[in-house]
Symmetry: C2
Subunit: 338 residues, 2 copies
């Protein structure tokens, strides 16, 4: 599913409304499985009308998710998968919210993404209709060509606090265990967060760093020198004030302040133009074993107090269960629908 891979340079998320029954959903999943096997291998999907746009070695990944309503057809809903409650700071637009199915396609190259998405939507036609689509981009490469965490459009290093891929913390955080069909799956929260770059830019750099609790230059905590230094949440300055402010984003989102609860998050920058007017923001993506148990308490805490709320507004929200990856001979969602 690519969850443990780096953030792609180009990505698109499409949410669908399902217009079929359980059997139809199974047919769609089998269709998508063969599309995904072909496209991620750099080969045209069956019936591909622009086969030359399927190019190998573009790092194409495809992730599929089930929204809560799918489980009205199938049963066995993962616990806590419902839509998130509306937060005080949310200004949710139905145009960016909800959905019964999700397809998320990422690649090194936007042409590959657009082509793959078009095939997947075409094959969904009898079964499911797109209700929203969101495009994003990310730069995971530094000036020296080496991998970096990447930055959002505020200029912040974004994603440092994740558990490291491959560690027990990562597995514990991300992979679900119940119901049986969902063992080895994960859930994904998609939040479309508008960022007010103009008012953010009115701050001084030290005001910006205080709001985040990290240095803009390196992403290091204000109590450290390197990006991955652990936060010292007890540290105080000469005046006795916490170096990392009580409402700093890095403090409030830290697992030690959240009863050990963690998430694994990625983000995609987005821009959305209406005529010559641009909206900028982040497609926030959070993986966790259990939405209600891990993500919701953290979200509520950030909504109540995060300093960043002054410059950010969530305008879209959706939640999906991503079934375990399929093996050769099996198909996507088979453990639920087979």
């Amino acid at each position: 599913m690519g969850i443990a891979l780096g953030t792609p340079a180009s990505a698109e998320l499409v949410a669908f409304k399902v217009g079929t029954d359980r059997a139809g959903l199974g047919r769609l999943m089998r269709l998508w499985t063969s599309d995904i096997v072909a496209l991620t291998g750099g080969r045209p999907a069956p019936g591909d009308t622009a086969p030359e746009l399927a190019v190998a070695n573009k790092g194409l990944t495809v992730t599929v998710g089930f929204g809560a309503r799918v489980f009205e057809l199938t049963g066995q809903k993962p616990s806590g998968l419902d839509d998130l409650p509306v937060m005080k700071h949310d200004r949710l637009d139905p145009a960016w919210s909800g959905g019964d199915l999700l397809v998320m396609v990422g690649a090194d190259d936007a042409v590959s993404v657009v082509h793959a998405v078009r095939r997947l939507i075409a094959d969904a036609k009898p079964f499911a209709t797109p209700i929203w689509r969101q495009n994003g981009f990310w730069d995971s490469t530094g000036a020296d060509g080496k991998p970096v965490t990447g930055r959002n459009l505020f200029g912040q290093v974004d994603g440092t606090g994740n558990p490291a891929v491959g560690t027990p913390e990562f597995d514990e955080t991300v992979w679900s265990k119940t119901p049986d069909w969902f063992r080895g799956g994960t859930t994904l929260v998609v939040r479309r967060i508008r960022m007010n770059l103009d008012t953010w830019d009115e701050l001084t750099r030290s005001e910006q760093e205080r709001a985040v609790g990290r240095k803009l230059s390196t992403g290091a905590p204000l109590t450290g020198t390197a990006e991955h230094d652990e936060l010292d949440l007890e540290a105080r300055d000469a005046d006795g004030r916490p170096v990392i402010a009580p409402n700093a984003h890095a403090r409030l989102s830290h697992h030690s302040e959240n009863d050990g609860r963690r998430i694994f998050r990625k983000g995609l920058n987005y821009v959305h133009d209406t005529g010559a007017t641009r909206e900028s923001g982040l497609i926030f993506l959070s993986h966790q074993a259990d939405v209600a148990g891990q993500f919701l308490p953290l979200l509520a805490r950030l909504d109540a107090a995060d300093a960043l709320n002054e410059w950010t507004t969530t305008i879209g929200s959706a939640t999906f269960a991503l079934p375990p990856g399929f093996q050769p001979g099996s198909w996507l969602g088979q453990s639920l629908l087979g």
Copy 2:
């Protein structure tokens, strides 16, 4: 100016309405010059509010152009630079047309593009206001990592007919000679071409290839085997019909059918979403020494007869003079405004 370089993976074009006089325009050009020197060097522009988003080695290029109305302030308009006449098949939307100034930013990476564009717009604020912006993407790399011509969203290899960079034909085609200030400059036509992927997909591959006059697999002419084989416009099939049809795009746009007139073109794929509905197309970019002398006759010929007109509609059009590049110590447009 990056004209002779490959098409960038990610690019944005912004057109502005000018609200200043000749002196103000000169000030803006000096500001933009220092921005461009910094940003293309991977350094923050003066006053950059997100300096860490300026990253070296991202292949950033910036091109600036003057629309016809600028020359009401300055005089010395290059001949033939006016807006193109509206063609029979055009369905021009003012929202994608015209403009007094153009900024075109390209890079390997979308974050670098978005950041540079934001700086350039911010510095234009007292002098010029954006009226449209268009984003595009292109894949100039094959599966083996080597450079390729790239494909549009119909799947066609797009741009094969260009004069090769560095040849006398290229220089003759692209670089302007008059007026004096414009020696070594070029003109750029920007056409936003909507492509109807759904009706295009209803064709057989041989119908698609007949419309273009080239093979989809390689971009080779229907009379050849390799992409850069010269077209044999006299070749006939067993039934005596031209192998490359009279209305094939490759025939009508070929310089031998246009009194030797050539252009140097690039393209950027675009997608534009309204809710869950996607429009796809091409931001067509044509460089030539003289718009009226080289591009307009070709455009009129294609408008009259090009087989592709059935699946394409031009919805935006704009024309700009790109001043000669600046050297250290000089500034952009100095030969006109200094």
